[in-house]
């Protein structure tokens, strides 16, 4: 599966997702469709502005400490949500941020959906790392020589 992202008006790499809960909420029967910023500086699944996500009526699952960009630490609520991308729907813990203005999709989001993220100056592609992808990746390494393999292994 290949999903296309886009650059938003601030040139953030972004992706359109659908968020929903366990029960269909009368006010939002189709869930909430939002553009999230693909943020590899965020290790989590999804961080969401609490005011935008409250109408979904997601069940609170817990609380977690989170360090913000200014190094301050805050307790944040977490809720269980279903995220749909490219027809695939998976559940994860969404961190509810009362100060955020945008949705963030972090490294755990990429891992949960088993996505490889490919960024160029104009294009953003999320490629599901299935057998076909693995075969193509191996072929690319074989075709471009062992130098690329060492670069890839050196990247954490």
């Amino acid at each position: 599966m290949l999903v296309n992202g886009f650059y938003d008006e601030k040139r953030n790499p972004s992706l359109t997702i659908r968020l929903s809960g366990i029960a269909t909420h009368a006010a939002m029967p189709d869930g909430l469709i939002v553009d999230g910023v693909l943020d590899t500086g965020f290790a989590g699944f999804v961080a969401a502005p609490i005011t935008e996500i409250l109408p979904l009526g997601l069940p609170l699952s817990g609380m977690t400490p989170m360090i913000l960009a200014d190094s301050s630490m805050h307790q944040r609520l977490a809720a269980l949500a279903c995220v749909t991308v490219g027809g695939r729907a998976l559940w994860g813990e969404v961190v509810l941020d009362p100060t955020a203005k945008e949705f963030l999709l972090g490294l755990e989001f990429l891992r949960t959906f088993n996505f490889a993220l490919v960024l160029t100056d104009r294009e953003i592609c999320l490629i599901e790392k299935d057998d076909q992808w693995a075969k193509g990746f191996d072929n690319w390494i074989a075709a471009t020589g062992s130098q690329n393999r060492s670069i890839i292994r050196a990247t954490p």
Binding site: F42, A43, M63, T64, A78
Partner: protein, 86 residues
């Protein structure tokens, strides 16, 4: 909405503090020796803990044993589960 509005619900603040205290007293020393870097989900009512590589997996493991539980999530050996750079 700001932090003050959220923290006007004292029960939530208490639940978070209770979770942190359970972790410190019952699990921290043992977990830091065995599960550094993993995420622990502490059920604040039963005081049971569930460890997994991610918050989503720790929550899933916890809900399988304690449906409807409210968890305090902590990354073992670190101050916070996540750092947000934005």
């Amino acid at each position: 909405m700001n932090d003050t509005v959220i923290w006007d619900f004292p029960d939530l603040r208490e639940l978070g503090e209770r979770g942190a205290e359970i972790y410190r007293k019952k699990y921290q020393a043992d977990f830091e020796a065995r599960y550094r870097g993993q995420v622990a989900a502490i059920d604040v009512h039963s005081e049971r803990a569930f460890v997994a590589p991610t918050m989503t997996e720790a929550g899933r493991n916890g809900r399988a044993e304690c449906p409807g539980a409210f968890f305090y999530f902590v990354r073992v050996g670190f101050a916070a589960v996540y750092r947000c750079r934005r």
